[in-house]
């Protein structure tokens, strides 16, 4: 057992720190957290692109890729260090969909041509991706999805609707699940596609989130032609690929730990400033937050270590997600409690404390235990695929 990072990993973490301290636009530095940078915010778009480009220049968006595709073949532990630090510094420029999900999808299942077309732009931070999974009638029951892909000549023609598609209105590409065999059992008739969001027939309608921004969208597909070459992983093979990607996606929620670490520091400073640092309840509450952050962080790195060992992670991935998201909600609440009456102010109220970011995180946090697999589903996955309990 060894809980230390290697010299190389420590150096990397340090390199990240120095970079962010220098490069983060000053008005975004304090206090910043993931989701704080609302992607629909026009004035952030430019900074987002610029930062993505800088991250890409340093090879940080392709860390664990094979060398032939411009990666460093770094470990998942290294990737998690990146996520840990990037989120601590606000998450600007890091396209979780593209870097965290589509890149592994391409590396493991993509054809040479698909890799050639899509990996370099992801690595350079030039492209955003959205995930075309959920539908109005297919949320937790994803495999009952109805969006249809019909083979026609050199294309598939896609018809249907996706819902809760994060940042579809800003995405260049979409990785999408559609039904290619409606007669097969539902898990066996799904295929995975890469869809150009500029294709004719795609309509995106952003939804208004309760936190006051627009991130989630409806996406309508009306006879959208997708070249056959954009099928990834084989006809009707989409579900198995999805399962392993979902396991990985769960582990990526460890990003909330980076946010939590930053917020804890802000709250400690805030408590001292407001003379609340000697209040035993405040001390216990912040200490509990510090404890949970450490446990969630350790579970995250454990999962990365297992991924590096090529051990399947259905149980461990779910644990990561549950811990990182549910406890993040608690941490946001700790912040709100510290703010007291100030917590009810809108983010942009002149009297809002800590730039209104705590309120923002608090409201956003209601989505954390729903997106990427609800807590309830995660526990079922952990119990059945992880612990071997019989299915209902």
């Amino acid at each position: 057992m060894n809980f230390a990072f290697t010299a190389e990993q420590e150096a990397f973490r340090n390199e990240l720190k120095q970079f962010f301290l220098k490069e983060m636009p000053s008005y975004l530095t304090l206090p910043v957290m993931f989701f704080a940078v609302d992607m629909s915010d026009r004035k952030i778009q430019k900074e987002w692109r610029e930062m993505a480009h800088k991250l890409g220049e340093r090879g940080w968006l392709s860390l664990s890729w094979p060398k032939q595709w411009g990666g460093r073949e770094a470990s998942m532990v290294m990737e998690f260090i990146l996520i840990d630090e990037i989120m601590y510094y606000g998450g600007l420029g890091y396209d979780v969909q593209g870097v965290g999900m589509v890149a592994p999808l391409l590396v493991h299942y993509g054809s040479e041509e698909q890799k050639r077309q899509h990996l370099p732009p992801i690595a350079r931070g030039e492209v955003s991706w959205c995930q075309g999974f959920s539908e109005p009638e297919a949320g937790s029951d994803l495999s009952s999805l109805k969006t249809r892909a019909l083979a026609e000549g050199n294309d598939f023609v896609i018809n249907g609707q996706k819902l809760w598609t994060s940042r579809a209105h800003q995405a260049d590409w979409c990785h999408l699940l559609a039904r290619t065999d409606p007669d097969a059992p539902k898990h066996k008739g799904i295929s995975y596609f890469l869809v150009d969001m500029h294709s004719p027939g795609i309509t995106v309608r952003p939804l208004n989130g309760i936190y006051g921004g627009q991130s989630l969208c409806e996406v309508f597909f009306d006879n959208v032609r997708v070249p056959k070459e954009n099928l990834i992983g084989g006809l009707n093979q989409g579900w198995a690929i999805t399962l392993s990607l979902l396991d990985l996606e769960r582990a990526l929620y460890m990003e909330q730990v980076g946010v939590g670490r930053r917020v804890l520091e802000l709250l400690v400073d805030y408590a001292r400033e407001k003379g609340q640092d000697k209040d035993p309840l405040v001390r216990q509450s912040l200490a509990e937050m510090a404890t949970e952050i450490e446990v969630a962080r350790l579970l995250g790195y454990r999962t990365a270590w297992l991924i590096d060992k090529r051990v399947p992670i259905p149980g461990e991935g779910s644990m990561c997600k549950i811990a990182a998201t549910e406890w993040a909600q608690r941490w946001a609440n700790v912040g709100m409690q510290l703010l007291g009456l100030y917590g009810q102010l809108a983010e942009d109220s002149p009297l809002a404390q800590l730039a209104g970011r705590i309120q923002h995180w608090y409201i956003r946090s209601f989505g954390l235990t729903i997106t990427g697999g609800t807590s309830e589903i995660e526990r079922i996955v952990l119990a059945t695929r992880g612990l071997g309990l019989p299915r209902s």
Partner: protein
């Protein structure tokens, strides 16, 4: 980072598990709860022969020269088996402090005899106030010519009634700061004026009240430095807190496994209860807590083993483990239903021991206060 045990540690773990499965069945645990001594001497000698008692002592003191992390593996298996007896007291509360701050003379006098199974040790630090702060040390040791006269009363002293020696924390000097003026003594348990009274506990483990009525202690029996013992007491408690968590790692894992077995086999409404969603949720919650306990504890144990400064990590481990194990026990009872409520099933061993583990060496609130200080709240 490496979250797996080394090959040697795996071997130690496996051999410990095999040994304890055979030699420490639950029937023995029950029997020891009912007996005053609380441990079988034959088993104690077998553990000594296996090198367990001197595991972390250097070979020149009769030990195997292994690390605290290796000891953690052993403690995990002992927790899993609910091993009764004075191993924890003797090794963690007696042997390790002697190794840390004992004089060469003291180390040569005591450590080999601990390793051989001849001596049992304990630590008498907490008093009736039931707190782990310096101000709570009120037992006094007054200096006379060549010796000290020790008077006072200690409470919740594990295995005092069978101990050959006790490390006793007493006040030897006056000061404005309660942390100053405390000294640790190595006291012969057979000293005139020393009486042990066994307390009745939920877990059937052996805790005592120890009264010191003008007990004479020779000057050379000071452990460490006169009036500067508090730092050492804190370190002993800190290490003991992690060691206790190590026991809980094993116990919690066993509780989870028992619960999963039950959920897979118990049938109601025509199907195993593990197929019901609420039961699945409970088991999932337990599993998350078990893994949390395991890794946060091993991290602290590793840091202690490596001699790293780890006040926050130790506190985090104990604070987390205390609350998490309580949750695990509660959920296990929920899944077991009425059958878990009887003495003929194994869950009760763990339930009754869980509270002792939770409150010993600082409960969650105590350690959160340490964390609050460490994160900058003053």
């Amino acid at each position: 980072m490496d979250f797996a045990l080394s090959e040697e540690q795996e071997m130690l773990r496996k051999s410990a598990r095999d040994f304890l499965t055979e030699k420490c069945p639950k029937a023995l645990v029950t029997k020891m709860e009912g007996e005053e001594k609380g441990y079988p001497p034959e088993l104690w000698q077998e553990m000594a022969s296996l090198g367990w008692l001197g595991l972390v002592f250097p070979p020149k003191y009769g030990g195997s020269g292994m690390s605290f992390l290796d000891l953690a593996v052993l403690l995990e298996e002992m927790g899993r088996a609910c091993l009764p007896g004075p191993f924890f007291s003797t090794v963690v509360l007696g042997g390790l402090p002697l190794l840390d701050i004992g004089s060469e003379q003291q180390k040569h006098t005591f450590l080999p005899r601990i390793a051989s199974g001849e001596l049992i040790f304990s630590l008498a630090s907490t008093e009736a106030s039931a707190r782990y702060d310096a101000a709570s040390i009120m037992a006094e040791a007054r200096a006379d010519n060549a010796h000290f006269t020790l008077s006072g009363s200690k409470l919740f002293v594990t295995d005092a009634h069978i101990a050959d020696y006790m490390l006793v924390a007493a006040r030897t000097g006056e000061s404005t700061k309660p942390e100053d003026g405390i000294t640790i003594f190595v006291v012969d348990a057979k000293s005139p004026g020393l009486t042990c009274t066994l307390l009745k506990t939920i877990a059937g483990d052996k805790l005592c009240q120890v009264d010191f009525d003008r007990v004479k202690v020779a000057r050379e029996n000071i452990l460490g430095r006169l009036n500067q013992g508090w730092r050492e007491v804190e370190r002993i408690v800190q290490r003991a807190a992690v060691a206790k968590c190590c026991e809980v790692v094993g116990a919690a894992q066993q509780v989870l496994e028992m619960t999963l077995d039950y959920a897979k086999t118990r049938v109601q409404f025509g199907r195993p209860i593990g197929s019901f969603q609420l039961v699945q949720q409970y088991c999932a919650n337990m599993a998350l807590d078990v893994d949390g306990i395991r890794f946060i504890t091993y991290k602290a144990a590793w840091m202690l083993s490596e001699g790293m400064s780890c006040a926050q990590e130790v506190a985090v481990a104990k604070a987390w483990t205390a609350d998490a194990y309580r949750r695990i026990i509660a959920l296990s009872h929920a899944v077991h239903g009425a059958i878990g409520f009887t003495m003929d099933r194994d869950l009760q061993f763990y339930t009754r021991r869980a509270k002792a583990a939770e409150v010993s060496f600082g409960d969650a609130s105590f350690h959160r206060e340490i964390i609050a200080h460490e994160i900058g709240l003053g």
